[in-house]
C-alpha cells in the first residue's frame, strides 16, 4: 500500500493471491509474539489494582482499543480531507478501510467497557456523557459505512463519505473531553492529563504503553489488508460494470438498432 494513484506499481509475477504480501507477513510474524507478550503482561505479570482488583486487567484491553479507534477515525478524517484535494481512489479507500476498522474497534470498546462497568460501577450501561458520546460515534461510523453502500459513481461516493468522515473529529473531541466537560461516572483521564503526570506507574504503566504500541502495529497490519480488499472490490465492481455495458452493446447489435443504416 504505497505510492499515489497516478504512478502505481506495475503488475508483476510476484503478486500474491489474496491481500497478503511480504510486508504483511513480516508484520504478522512480529505481531504473534508481541500479542502473546501483551496478554502475558496484562493477565499474568501486572499486579491487581488496590481498588479495582483483578478487573483492572480489562484496562489493558479497553484503553488500547479506544486509542486504535481514535487513530483510525483520525486517519479516516485526514484521508478524506486529502481526498477533497487529490480526488484519487487511493485516499478514498484509505479513508473507507480505516473507518471500517474504527467501527469494529468502537464496537469492541463499547462491549469491553460495558463488561468493565458492571463490577466497577454496578451497571453494564448508563447514559453517562462518555458512554453516550461513544455510542454517538458508533452511530456516525455506521452512518459512514451506510453512505458508502448507496449506489453512486466513485466520485459521488467519495464526496458523500468524505463529508461524513469530517464529523469524526469533533465527535472524538467530545468523547475525549466529556469527562472534563460534564460530571461523569467514567473515570478522568489516566494518562493524557494536563498536568502531564499519569495516574498509573510501574509495570501497570509499562503494560499499558506496550499495549498501545502493539495495538497500533496490529492496526497497521489490518489496515493494509483491508485497503487491499477494498481496492480489489472496486476492481471487481468495475469489471462487472464493464461486462454489463458490453452485454448491453451486444444485445443492441443483435437487435439491429445499434448498426443503424450500416446495413442499407
Amino acid at each position: 500500500m504505497s505510492g499515489d494513484a497516478s504512478t502505481g506499481a506495475g503488475p508483476s509475477a510476484s503478486v500474491p493471491s489474496g491481500s497478503g504480501s511480504r510486508t504483511t507477513r513480516v508484520l504478522a510474524l512480529l505481531l504473534v509474539p508481541a500479542l502473546a507478550l501483551w496478554f502475558y503482561l496484562a493477565l499474568v505479570a501486572s499486579p491487581a489494582d488496590v481498588n479495582q482488583g483483578e478487573v483492572v486487567r480489562l484496562l489493558y484491553l479497553h484503553v488500547p482499543i479506544v486509542v486504535v479507534a481514535y487513530v483510525a477515525c483520525f486517519l479516516a478524517a485526514g484521508a478524506s480531507a486529502v481526498w477533497f484535494w487529490k480526488r484519487t481512489q487511493w485516499w478514498d479507500l484509505v479513508a473507507a478501510s480505516s473507518a471500517e476498522i474504527a467501527t469494529v474497534m468502537v464496537a469492541a470498546t463499547l462491549v469491553v467497557g460495558s463488561i468493565y462497568g458492571r463490577p466497577t460501577w454496578g451497571v453494564y450501561w448508563t447514559w453517562d456523557a462518555r458512554l453516550t458520546a461513544t455510542a454517538m460515534l458508533m452511530l456516525l461510523l455506521l452512518g459512514y459505512l451506510a453512505v458508502r453502500r448507496i449506489p453512486a459513481s466513485p466520485d459521488v461516493r467519495g464526496r458523500r463519505s468524505a463529508i461524513v468522515a469530517m464529523l469524526f473529529i469533533p465527535n472524538i473531541i467530545v468523547v475525549n473531553q466529556s469527562v472534563n466537560w460534564w460530571r461523569s461516572l467514567h473515570q478522568e483521564p489516566t494518562l493524557f492529563r494536563l498536568s502531564l503526570s499519569p495516574k498509573i506507574e510501574g509495570l501497570m504503566f509499562f503494560t499499558l504503553m506496550y499495549a498501545f504500541a502493539v495495538g497500533i502495529l496490529f492496526f497497521a497490519w489490518l489496515l493494509v489488508h483491508r485497503f487491499r480488499v477494498a481496492y480489489l472490490q472496486d476492481q471487481v465492481d468495475a469489471l462487472g460494470l464493464d461486462a454489463a455495458i458490453e452485454e448491453r452493446r451486444d444485445e443492441g447489435w443483435d437487435d439491429g438498432w445499434a448498426t443503424g443504416g450500416a446495413t442499407s
Binding site: G8, P11, V15, V111, R118, V229, Y231, V236
Partner: protein
C-alpha cells in the same frame, strides 16, 4: 464456619467473579476481532481470484 475461613472463601469468590469479567471481556472482544480479521483475509482471497494479476495494483 470460622470467620477466617469465611473471609478467605469470600475473597476467593470475589476474585473468581472478577476473573469471570476479565475472561468475558477478553474472550468476547478478541473473538469478535478475530472473526473480522478472518472475514477480511477470506474476502481478499475470494476477490483476488476474480482478477487477473495485471488488474491488481497496490498489492505488494
Amino acid at each position: 464456619m470460622s470467620p477466617i475461613l469465611a473471609t478467605l472463601f469470600a475473597q476467593i469468590g470475589d476474585s473468581s467473579s472478577q476473573w469471570g469479567y476479565v475472561a468475558a471481556g477478553y474472550g468476547i472482544v478478541l473473538l469478535g476481532i478475530a472473526v473480522y480479521v478472518l472475514f477480511v483475509l477470506r474476502k481478499g482471497r475470494q476477490l483476488s481470484r476474480q482478477l487477473d494479476p495485471e488488474d491488481r495494483r497496490w498489492m505488494s
